[in-house]
């Protein structure tokens, strides 16, 4: 499927139009939900850290440090991607699946158009901007933690000092490597379930569920493999 998606290209102008449409549907439309989730979960992570670091022997800067590490290493790239498997993944599988059951894909094929290139390739390209969404998630997660600490009474200076301490740029690189791989999984696994769907309207819903199931599992397994390779 991926090989055919990258062959027999449609007209460049049409593809550009499709890519911009997909950037809007898959990337820009995801920003609000990702922002809300990241902000509040960042806050919850910071509160839970504070709760577990009550000992006067431990520095309050550890709260900022631990929140930053949790958000950058795991929460933003991995858990947001699993949430995106629900939002973006079900959108992709159901939109392509509906085109399959209503014979729109057959119509493209009969016209002599490479339907995989027209439908799947723009989604893969659009998802290359997915790390931008994860950057927003990282930023808002940490900001959420800061605000939660202010409300809890932990000094902002300690939290800020914590998020600056022992910063390792390699962790951010690791996070973006994961994000790029996940973006490919998020575009292709649901597209596969939608494109090769057989049956009717009911099966569109089933394909959507299946795509969420498999995308999540693949993301979690890839997450482990990349972590083993890059951090172990």
């Amino acid at each position: 499927m991926i090989r055919i998606s990258f062959s027999k290209y449609c007209k460049r102008k049409i593809l550009y139009k499709q890519i911009f449409k997909e950037i809007n549907d898959l990337v820009l439309d995801s920003i609000p939900i990702v922002s809300i989730l990241s902000f509040f979960i960042g806050g919850v992570v910071a509160i839970q850290m504070a709760l577990n670091l009550e000992s006067p022997l431990l520095s309050k800067t550890l709260i900022g440090f631990a929140t930053r590490q949790s958000v950058i290493l795991e929460f933003a790239p991995t858990f947001i991607s699993i949430i995106m498997a629900g939002k973006v993944g079900s959108y992709i599988s159901s939109s392509i699946g509906t085109m399959r059951v209503t014979e729109q894909i057959d119509a493209l094929e009969v016209m002599g158009i490479n339907s995989l290139n027209y439908l799947v390739f723009p989604k893969i390209i659009a998802m290359l901007l997915y790390p931008f969404v994860i950057t927003i998630s990282m930023f808002l997660g940490i900001i959420g933690g800061l605000l939660a600490m202010q409300l809890t009474g932990v000094p902002s200076e300690a939290y800020i000092e914590g998020i600056q301490s022992d910063f390792d740029g390699y962790h951010v690189t690791y996070s973006y490597v994961k994000t790029l791989v996940f973006s490919f999984v998020l575009a292709t696994v649901p597209a596969f379930h939608g494109y090769y769907l057989k049956g009717g309207a009911l099966d569109v819903g089933k394909a959507s569920t299946q795509s969420f199931y498999w995308t999540s599992i693949i993301i979690i397994i890839i997450n482990y493999i990349i972590t083993q390779l890059l951090l172990a």
């Binding site: 449609c10 014979e103 729109q104 057959d106 119509a107 094929e109 009969v110 016209m111 002599g112």
Partner: protein
Amino acid sequence: MIEVISLHKKFDQDYILNDINTVFEKGKTNLIIGQSGSGKTVLLKCLLGLYNINSGEISYDGIHSSEMDSNNKLKLRREMGMVFQGSALFDSLNVLENVRFPLDMLTQLDIDEKNKRALKFIERVNLSNSLNKLPSELSGGMQKRVAIARAVVMNPKYLFCDEPNSGLDPKTAIIIDKLINEITKEYGITTIINSHDMNSVIEIGENIIFLKNGNKIWQGNNKSILNSGNNEVNEFVYSSKLVQKLKGS
């Protein structure tokens, strides 16, 4: 003209089409009829090239399918138009954009020329007042008319219609049948229609092929079908009370 020579098609070990030999003539409305499961849709998809055949040959105006490479097959596809059973219009595009879609995708014409051509066919199917409507805002009959306009906008040599009037009321079904028939004559297209609607058979069946269990049982036209003398054809044709009455009168 499309000639089918000893065509066989099987799925797994079951033959769906057995030794089909026939000719679909140019400028005529050719009908493939038969009960559900008789192999009509499979035959249509073989003719469209959506299914590969297991043995036999399909000749498109003298060019044999077995001699075509992928480029020639692509070229052939672009000479085909198809009206799907459910219209298969693109949900996010309005009427004008749907009809213009093949021109946008496959030609280098400028936008004015593309609009001019699309509008000509939209006018032909009497939908000039619905240019900006989305498929969801159209009735079933209107959707079929848009599908017909989209299928013929590239001036195809071959037009395929899969049960074009299914789900339509009898009056609209007749309008769609007549429209397809008129366009076939006007542009000299080889039109092949899949149908089990006896109204269509009687109205526009200039060349009719009757399939049963994947076999070609009978071939004739709308005049000869009522007196085919073939029991299997009669069983299909006279299952309609209307046709029984017609025969009686």
